[in-house]
Symmetry: C2
Subunit: 168 residues, 2 copies
Amino acid sequence: MKLTEAKAQFISSWGAFGTHWGINRTMAQIHALLLISPDPITQDDIMEQLNISRGNVNMNTRDLIDWGLVDRVLIPGERKEFFIAEKDIWKVATQIIKERKKRELDPMLKLLGQLEKIEGDKKDKDTKQFIDTVAGIRKFGGQADKMLDVMIKADENWFLGNVLKIFK
Amino acid sequence: MKLTEAKAQFISSWGAFGTHWGINRTMAQIHALLLISPDPITQDDIMEQLNISRGNVNMNTRDLIDWGLVDRVLIPGERKEFFIAEKDIWKVATQIIKERKKRELDPMLKLLGQLEKIEGDKKDKDTKQFIDTVAGIRKFGGQADKMLDVMIKADENWFLGNVLKIFK
DNA sequence: ATTAATTTTCAATAATTTCTGAAAATATAA
DNA sequence: TTATATTTTCAGAAATTATTGAAAATTAAT
């Protein structure tokens, strides 16, 4: 396989992969393109390579920046802005975990905590099942939360070392 | 908060949560409803509680069954089919991990393996960055894959016990 | 201050995904 | 077998989400 073909396939698959994770196709494709670009590239480069409009590139690069996965860089003498992606996959993963935890897991755990404090007779079948379900999810989510917190703080070698020790 | 209100909020939030994970809102809502229902319920029950059409219930319950999260049960003397969800959250999580691994992670790792074997001069900047990126993702994904395999086989107490031991 | 380059915004449009509902298929009872 | 209940399918409709492109805003150079 040639580089050009491989690149195209990587970008396309990464985009499809993203849609299974609640990330929009284009954002994932831009991210993929940036991951395999050794040097910073411009809005126009992205537009051209992915055949998408300026507005689209602008919105999605902003989102990638908000997620902490991409940075704007200024190149001396150049008028345009350039974009570059964090290339260390461990850092990428950590950053995604951190953001999703903040945006989704933490609020969900908060809500479950409230729902658990429902009024009502615990002898009632429906009430009991509701409380048990909510409590079960919350307990599980709480463990995941703790685990992810440590993971985020840990550095790569420490973590992988420990994972290998446990999961072998 | 009353049970009725809490139920509605749980179902609605679970649905919204699902959309961030590539799961459609209705499937997640049906799953939520089944999780808090102590006894098996019918298509008609689901239609009524969630205000959705028969076809919609049918398609999404089938998907939930394909995911291994819901079972059809036959109740003696009853003509209709009933549905019931696995209530043990550990089992639910394990099942989801198992399916997503099979559907997404495994195929992605296979593809990355192919892309890594690209022809071309490794001294070339673009080629080098491509190979490094793909190899990096593959290595990380491979670790995750191994870890999840062990998790899937492990039972809850073993797993949580170990997590607590390591991540404290 | 004026001009030119570049980025950002957002209303309109397009694309995609989800949902409905009625017809067809299937299963059960009489 | 015939009638009745129940489930499944799927084309079209509705809802949601993503994209465009041109105008407005911003930035930098002259």
